[in-house]
């Protein structure tokens, strides 16, 4: 089985070479047959990669220590779920997951792209094949997950204990679906540049892929943030760590792309810009892969460092980013400009959105790369953290968030800001009220906190106003309004949900940062502690034995106002003997949208334990908002418009399914 997987991987590499060259040549030579090769090859390539991945996952699940990567990253005593997720909890396996998702998207284009123009489809698949070929080669040459050991060791070296968590099952696959999903947008852009023309249907094709990728990336980042929050035991949800930034930059650029693609799709304007943005977004994904996989950065994500890998990925990076940008410089002038619009219009608002988002991306890029560049040039070591981003990213985001509710209310081509502002009066009043209530009645609220809460309420109410206005609130009878509401295009709901989710996330961030409280103290069993109206009694430390670890679990009872126990929180120190590593399992109790968070420190000589306790108001909204944003993207994907974009009603002219 293992060797079958290895062979399938090599075969998939061979197919990716064919996929890269044959359809490209076919599109140039005008050969229908050769262009038609792309589809079946992409699907077969995906099937083979999936087989290969399944073989590796089986090896992990069955603790086959004759496979080197299993031996290094698994242990027979691990629970089955962590054995399986361990498949991608290491460098080799995670790269295989990367190409699996890449070929998956390629296969999706092949299957659902039967209504694409033949040359566009051929070129898209060829570019997709080229990316695949580069990464297959990378895997086979520097990070082969199927390297064998003979004789096989009888026991493995265990998975990094920090990764032995359900988060590993969700976070990397979601994140990769996002990262790699943007490869489709990239391939479409490069294909358009190769052809030297952009079809009108181009944007209609690119937007759903952008939506899919953006949706998964949003989920991946949110999941990663929540995972870090509860697993690392520091109570933080975002650290401006270079690895986090590496995933955040494609998200920002992807958000910009999502919006500029709307303009292109509806008004055929901003073509060149959208194309460039699609290239940049995937380039940032590649940069993220490079930063994480090359060992340039040290973090929990850098599983193992090997200089040849870094150089190899750097070559891939240079080839694809440099190549696509050079092609862009050569060909962009051949693309025709699109429709006109007034600066104050829906289009103008979306351009403004792009301006802010790309600038914000640039500041994050500078903050992430500057320390690396400085070290390379002068050898000086600096770290750029939250204070830098607070000063640069923050001021860019605040005005952007403030103008978000205006965008959907402006008309295409020429809008009326005053009319939009009038419609937003109610939302504005609500925001102002929230701001005043926060500032005057909440203890310890700063001006910034009040402003933040107001901004969040503004976003949420703005999104609701958009829905109300579009269903004719106030001008028609409720019955008609309801019918109109139900008849609104799904994409309108998508926009409203995404903006509403953004507001919720902001509310969560402001709530946690401004009103959170914290206590560090050392406690003996039986002592109680009080934090923001919650009383906890420390019951003591209880040793327990897990499958591959031993732990000391500290139990705390939550005491209600009446003195009775309301529930329990427990936090544990786990010791994993194979890796000689200790981890902290934090204890969390959710009260409405807020959480009581507790983490254990060291044991003192006198039997006391250091305890760190946080009260985090509204913290769950941070991730809840992200889920709402994802729902918005999913809603948008269901819009009928995105399924048009091709001569579907004139079936006789469509090449009959190129897939057999």
């Amino acid at each position: 089985m293992v060797e079958t997987g290895h062979f399938a991987l090599v075969l998939a590499f061979a197919l990716s070479l064919v996929q890269m060259l044959v359809p490209l040549y076919g599109a140039r030579a005008g050969s229908q047959k050769m262009m038609a090769v792309g589809g079946p090859v992409a699907v077969t390539g995906f099937a083979l990669t999936a087989l290969s991945f399944a073989a590796l996952a089986t090896a992990y699940a069955s603790s086959d220590f004759s496979v080197a990567s299993v031996w290094e990253n698994s242990h027979s005593l691990q629970p089955l779920i962590y054995k399986i997720t361990g498949t991608w909890g290491n460098h080799e396996g995670s790269m295989l997951l990367w190409v699996l998702i890449l070929t998956f998207f390629g296969a999706l284009v092949a299957v659902f792209g039967s209504n694409l123009p033949a040359t566009l489809k051929a070129n898209v698949l060829a570019v997709q094949g080229a990316i695949g070929a580069a990464f297959f080669l990378f895997i086979l040459a520097t990070s082969n997950p199927f390297t064998r050991l003979n004789p096989a060791p009888i026991e493995g070296r265990d998975l990094n204990p920090v990764l032995q968590d359900l988060g590993l099952a969700i976070h990397p696959p979601l994140l990769y679906l996002g990262y790699v999903g943007f490869s489709i947008c990239f391939s479409f852009s490069v294909a358009a540049l190769i052809e030297g023309r952009i079809d009108a249907s181009w944007a209609r094709w690119v937007r759903p892929w952008t939506l899919v990728a953006w949706m998964f990336l949003t989920g991946g980042i949110a999941m990663g943030s929540y995972w870090a929050y509860y697993e690392l035991g520091w109570g933080g949800f975002w650290f401006w760590d270079p690895v986090e930034n590496a995933s955040f930059m494609p998200w920002l650029a992807g958000t910009a792309l999502l919006h500029s693609a709307i303009v292109m799709e509806k008004r055929s304007a901003l073509k060149i810009w959208t194309l460039l943005l699609a290239i940049l977004t995937f380039s940032l994904s590649l940069l993220g892969t490079f930063l994480v996989r090359s060992g340039v950065l040290t973090s929990v994500h850098a599983f193992a460092t090997d200089p040849t890998r870094g150089v190899f990925i750097l070559c891939i990076l240079t080839l694809f980013i440099g190549g696509s940008l050079a092609l862009f410089a050569l060909r962009a002038s051949r693309l025709t400009a699109g429709g006109l619009f007034h600066p104050i219009s829906r289009e103008g608002a979306l351009v403004l959105n792009n301006l802010f988002l790309t600038t914000a991306t640039a500041t994050v890029l500078v903050g992430t790369l500057y320390p690396l560049a400085l070290e390379a040039v002068t050898g000086g070591k600096i770290s750029v953290g939250a204070p830098f981003f607070d000063l640069t990213f923050g001021p860019l985001m605040l005005p952007l968030l403030a103008i978000v509710p205006f965008g959907p209310l402006l008309a295409w081509k020429r809008g009326d800001v005053f009319a939009a502002a009038q419609r937003l009066m109610a939302a504005f009043a609500a925001a102002l009220a929230a701001m005043l209530v926060t500032g005057l009645f909440v203890d310890g609220a700063s001006v910034f906190a009040a402003l933040g809460v107001g901004l969040a309420v503004w976003l949420v109410c703005g999104a609701l106003t958009d829905l109300a206005v579009k269903s004719g609130f106030g001008s028609v009878t409720p019955a008609i309004m309801l019918r109109r509401f139900a008849g609104l295009p799904r994409s309108v709901f998508g926009t409203a949900l995404a903006h509403l989710g953004l507001g919720l996330t902001l509310l969560g961030i402001v709530g946690t940062l401004s009103f959170g409280t914290e206590k560090i103290l050392s406690m003996h069993a039986g002592e109680t502690v009080e934090l923001s109206g919650h009383t906890l009694r420390f019951e003591g430390l209880y040793p327990a034995q897990g499958p591959n670890y031993s732990e000391d679990r500290g139990r705390f009872v939550v005491i209600g106002a009446d003195g009775n126990a309301k529930g329990e929180i427990s936090s544990a120190k786990r010791f994993f003997p194979v890796r000689q590593t200790t981890t902290t399992e934090s204890g969390i109790r959710t009260v409405w949208f807020s959480q009581l968070y507790l983490s254990l420190g060291d044991e003192g000589n006198d039997g006391s334990v250091v305890v760190r306790l946080w009260w985090k108001p509204l913290v769950t909204l941070i991730w809840g908002g992200a889920v709402v944003m994802m729902a918005g993207a999913a809603m948008s994907l269901m819009d009928r418009r995105l399924r048009v974009g091709a001569p579907a009603r004139r079936k006789e002219l469509v090449p009959s399914a190129s897939l057999s």
Binding site: N160, V162, G233, L297, T298, S299, V300, A304, T305, L340, P343, L355, T359, A362, T363, V366, G367, Y370, P371, G380, K381, I382, S383, V384, G385, P387, F388, D390, L391, T392, P395, L396, I520, L521, S522, K573, R579, Q580, T581, T582, T583, T584, S599, L600, G601, D602, G604, N605, V610, R612
Partner: protein, 147 residues
């Protein structure tokens, strides 16, 4: 305004915006980035009390003292000089004697480094990169001694 003028004004506004953002970014880099030092570097560098820096090195053997509550004092050394550090909070799980750490904070007026964050190495297999590089440069740490 003609179409050309309109376009020009939009471009000028965009450039002004970008210029402001660039200026802000570099101002922030100068003000808010914290430099990394090892104890031996501090003799030559001028670090004001209160200036935020990152201090890295090994936790010196036998210097960890737990005070009352959750305050811990220890020394960070690069085997040439050592610096006393105090920290209030929960130390990372991998914090141990003779292991690499990076602390972030500033010097108090008494010359004791007050850290508000302590990072230990993430994994058994490597040291924080800055610490490893620094120790290598000082010839204290050899590749072969790494785990």
């Amino acid at each position: 305004m003609t179409r050309k003028q309109k376009r020009l004004s939009v471009i000028v506004a965009g450039l002004a915006f970008l210029g402001a953002a660039t200026g802000l970014t570099f101002y922030a880099l100068g003000q808010k980035a914290s430099y990394f030092y090892m104890p031996g570097d501090l003799a030559t560098a001028t670090v004001q009390p209160g200036q935020r820096i990152r201090l890295g090195g090994l936790v010196e053997k036998g210097t960890i003292e737990r005070g009352q509550g959750a305050t811990v004092a220890f020394s960070v050394t690069d085997k040439q000089k050592s610096v006393k550090v105090t920290y209030t909070g929960i130390l990372p799980d991998l914090f141990r004697e003779e292991q690499g750490v990076i602390t972030e904070g500033s010097f108090g007026p008494d010359g004791v480094f007050v850290a508000d964050s302590v990072l230990a190495k993430h994994d058994e297999r490597y040291m924080p990169k800055e610490v490893a590089d620094g120790l290598k440069a000082k010839g204290v740490w050899q590749e072969s001694k790494s785990e």
